[in-house]
């Protein structure tokens, strides 16, 4: 069903004017609260009984409550606006939307604007714009941030810079909220850069060790590279839209094709650079795995709520520009979809060869962000934003789970091969929640990841992007495989560390359980096959928005992708046990053989389906069975082993040559050149103030003479 959501806005907006409740029209208090919390913690935190944590948690808790209220007020606003139009039959919950006729419905975002300063002809404004996308982000950011704040009370307990850590967390959250509520691209840019600064502060939180501070610098500079594109993109769109920074006006101008297609192509390409930098897309993804040097709660925040999703949010916010610039509606290849598709595969393959559990998760995030960007690129706006929503829950869960393991299980190590293994016995809650998170990530059927992934894949197919649909399914297969590997290494087998693992304290396990619940049910917010489309109803903008495709549910596609995922888990499990027989973990085989029936049902189910085929067939011992056995041993096994060995080999090759070799060495070369140029310029830096003053005076004299001569 094609649905036109493109409107010429204003008249509808006036017609459906509704007295908005206070909070939603003053939503700027939410970011302000977090910034205030930052200032208070910084100034007075050290003298407080809980060293500033109580301020941070109170502030973010209040922000979360207010965000929830905003969400409800927005839902009311949408419902009322549609009733006001009289054309809509939408009244109850869960009713599928009936207002999808072109040009019918129009719900104006709630905005509030102040004059910032005016410069001759141009007036700069500051303002907020609250719509479905903004309230969804407010909810996700404050929710994840609240859990991370609570979690950190235990995780960071003995840290020397505890107060400072909480101050930075508050500012981080506040900056992201500024970015989310901004109604113009200047404020968005300001929030964007603030997020970058805060991530620098937090990734380098343990800066005493050189790799950590290097990682912080790398993260900052790599994203800055993309930010150049964003800055130029903001300027280009400013002029292209007729000298305005207002996001809605830019989208409207873009969709109207004002000033020709080319300028929007330039603008969209530049903005895409910003997304590539911030959201860890190929080839600027290299900072994300290194950013694991920061404390684990920070990683969770960066990956789930505050940092990397900013890029995807920008893509969703200025979608009109991308739609026009890349001609997404025409169904051809475009840079956005291609970059996303490359990132899915590259990220997923790299995840196979990591021993560090956090790095596996980091590459997984890269791959999932690839899904979102590809989703935007193929016109699956709802799918991409929905995936952002669900991904936030399960990825935060996985990171906090990894943190819980390092906190209580592996003695501050993240090495799966050296210090983990067999942890399911010692950390049952962490194990159960981590399993739920992984299943949600892999897209197992009723969990969150399945619905959003399916939405993207279905839209891709129905908009004519069949190639990207296949890439998406391949990505899902790889995701399931590397998460299976990760779980086996961490939770199964024998404990390989040298400490006494135990379950984490409540401040850690309670957030894990809450996130696990959300990872399970969050997908139902837009479970299209069940007729629930809350994202289409409430999140998708109805003004200045391109006519995107709302996909029909495809049972076959969903079945194929789920089957592929299950098969992948099966193959991976199979290889894992094979490796036991040959590999370094001798003696495990007997235990595994004895305990085969005792593994938790999820793993066992998938494991049995594929792995035990040869055992069963071998047991029958009939001639038919024997030939089937031969077929199984020689052909199926060959294929299975080939695939299994091939994926890590490709991953290793990619990691060695593309990631570490080409991309990194290009950056190193650039750095070297910069260093050489610096060597030449350093002679000017004599350190003497008066020498500098002399240079300034000479420069002024030259310019003055030039000015006089020019007259």
């Amino acid at each position: 069903m094609y649905r036109l959501a493109l409107q010429t806005s204003t008249e509808y907006a006036e017609k459906t004017e509704i007295a908005s409740p206070w909070l939603i029209s003053h939503a700027w208090v939410i970011p302000l609260l977090m910034v205030l919390s930052f200032v208070i913690i910084l100034l007075f935190g050290k003298r407080m009984p809980k060293r500033g944590a109580e301020v941070g948690i109170t502030a973010v808790g209040a922000a979360f409550v207010m965000s929830c209220i905003t969400v409800f007020q927005w839902i009311q606003h949408v419902d009322k606006s549609l009733e006001g139009e009289g054309g809509s039959a939408l009244s109850g919950f869960g009713k599928s939307f009936a207002f999808s006729t072109p040009g019918e419905s129009s719900v104006a975002p709630i905005t509030q604007t102040w004059d910032w300063w005016s410069n001759g002809l141009i007036k700069f404004t500051a303002g907020i714009q609250i719509d479905g996308l903004a309230v969804m982000m407010l909810f996700v950011v404050t929710f994840i941030s609240l859990l991370v704040h609570v979690y950190s009370t235990a995780y960071m307990e003995h840290d020397t810079r505890y107060t400072y850590f909480y101050a930075a967390l508050s500012l981080f959250t506040g900056s992201m909220l500024v970015l989310v509520v901004a109604d113009n691209s200047l404020m968005l840019l300001a929030g964007w850069e603030l997020v970058g600064v805060c991530s620098f502060m937090l990734i380098g939180h343990w800066w005493e060790e050189k790799p950590n501070s290097s990682a912080a610098i790398k993260a900052f500079l790599t994203t800055r590279t993309g930010d150049i594109g964003l800055l130029l993109g903001v300027i280009v769109t400013f002029f292209a839209a007729g000298q305005t920074f207002n996001l809605t006006e830019i989208n409207e101008a873009a969709l109207a094709g004002r000033g020709g297609h080319t300028i929007w192509l330039v603008g969209a390409s530049l903005l895409l650079m910003g997304i590539i930098g911030k959201s860890g897309q190929f080839p600027l993804h290299t900072w994300l795995p290194d950013a694991m040097a920061g404390p684990t709660p920070v990683s969770a925040l960066i990956h789930a709520a505050t940092m990397v999703v900013a890029g995807v949010y920008l893509g969703g916010r200025l979608y009109g520009v991308f739609w026009q610039g890349f001609s997404i509606g025409d169904g051809g290849m475009n840079p956005m979809a291609i970059i996303g598709a490359i990132t899915i595969i590259v990220g997923a393959l790299l995840a196979f060869v990591q021993d560090d559990i956090k790095k596996v998760l980091a590459y997984s995030t890269i791959s999932q962000l690839g899904y979102m960007v590809m989703g935007l690129g193929v016109g699956a706006w709802v799918g991409a934003i929905f995936h952002l929503f669900t991904h936030a829950f399960f990825k935060a869960l996985l990171f906090l789970g990894a943190g819980s393991i390092s906190h209580s299980g592996s003695h501050h190590s993240f090495d799966m091969k050296k210090d983990m293994g067999g942890l399911r016995k010692f950390m049952p809650i962490t194990f159960a929640t981590f399993m739920i998170g992984s299943a949600a990530l892999a897209g197992v059927v009723p969990l969150a990841g399945f619905w959003s992934k399916d939405e993207i894949l279905a839209t891709a197919g129905q908009s004519g992007f069949h190639f990207f649909q296949i890439v998406g399914i391949a990505g899902a297969v790889l995701t399931a495989a590397y998460m299976t590997r990760c779980i086996y290494l961490t939770f199964f087998g024998e404990y390989r560390g040298h400490h006494h693992p135990h379950e984490s304290p409540k401040a850690i396990t309670v957030p894990l359980i809450i996130l696990a619940v959300f990872s399970t049910v969050a997908g139902l917010a837009n479970a299209a096959p069940l007729g629930i489309e809350k994202f289409v109803e409430y999140v998708e903008p109805r003004q200045a928005f391109p006519p995107i495709v709302v996909p029909e549910f495809e049972g076959i596609l969903a079945a194929v992708s789920v089957m592929a995922v299950l098969l992948s888990v099966g193959v991976c499990s199979y290889l894992w046990f094979r490796k036991d027989q040959l590999g370094p973990f001798k003696g495990l085989t007997q235990r595994n053989a004895a305990a085969r029936g005792g593994y938790t049902f999820l793993v066992n189910k998938y494991y049995l389906d594929v792995l035990y085929t040869d055992v069963v067939v071998g047991g029958i011992k009939g001639p038919l069975a024997r030939s089937a056995y031969w077929f199984n041993q020689n052909i199926l096994d060959g294929v299975v082993n080939g695939i299994g060995r091939g994926a890590p080999a490709i991953g290793r090759g990619l990691y060695k040559y593309v990631d570490q070799g080409t991309v990194d060495s290009a950056y190193n070369g650039l750095a070297k050149e910069t260093g050489a140029a610096g060597g030449l310029l350093r002679r000017l830096q004599s350190g003497q103030v008066q020498r500098y003053a002399l240079l300034i005076v000479i420069a002024i004299a030259i310019f003055s003479i030039a000015l006089i001569l020019a007259k």
């Binding site: 003497q688 103030v689 003053a693």
Partner: protein, 99 residues
């Protein structure tokens, strides 16, 4: 209206100020030279203000004087710290920032 004389006086003062800033080694004297430059500018502003019968120049001068007072406060504090660290107000010694 004798505008030219004022402008010439201001230009002379300004040049003396620049000379002082570039040549003097004593930090306190450098600060005084900066004051001289600021006042040369003030003189220009007032002269033009009187010549054009326009008060905004004089208002501007009031701002400059206020900010100059603050600037001297900061500058003297810096020189005091220099003196504590190097036992002399000599600016040439403070070149730790050289590349």
């Amino acid at each position: 209206m004798i505008l030219n004389q004022f402008l010439i006086l201001a230009a002379v003062l300004f040049c003396i100020g620049i000379y002082g800033v570039l040549v003097r080694r004593n930090g306190v004297l450098v600060l005084m030279s900066i004051e001289l430059m600021l006042n040369a500018v003030n003189l220009n502003l007032i002269a033009f203000s009187a010549y054009l019968q326009e008060t905004s120049g004089q208002i501007f001068v009031l701002f400059v004087i206020t900010i100059a007072a603050a600037e001297v406060g900061v500058g003297l504090a810096i020189i005091l710290l220099l003196f504590r660290n190097f036992r002399s107000p000599d600016l040439d010694q403070a070149q730790q920032l050289k590349g």
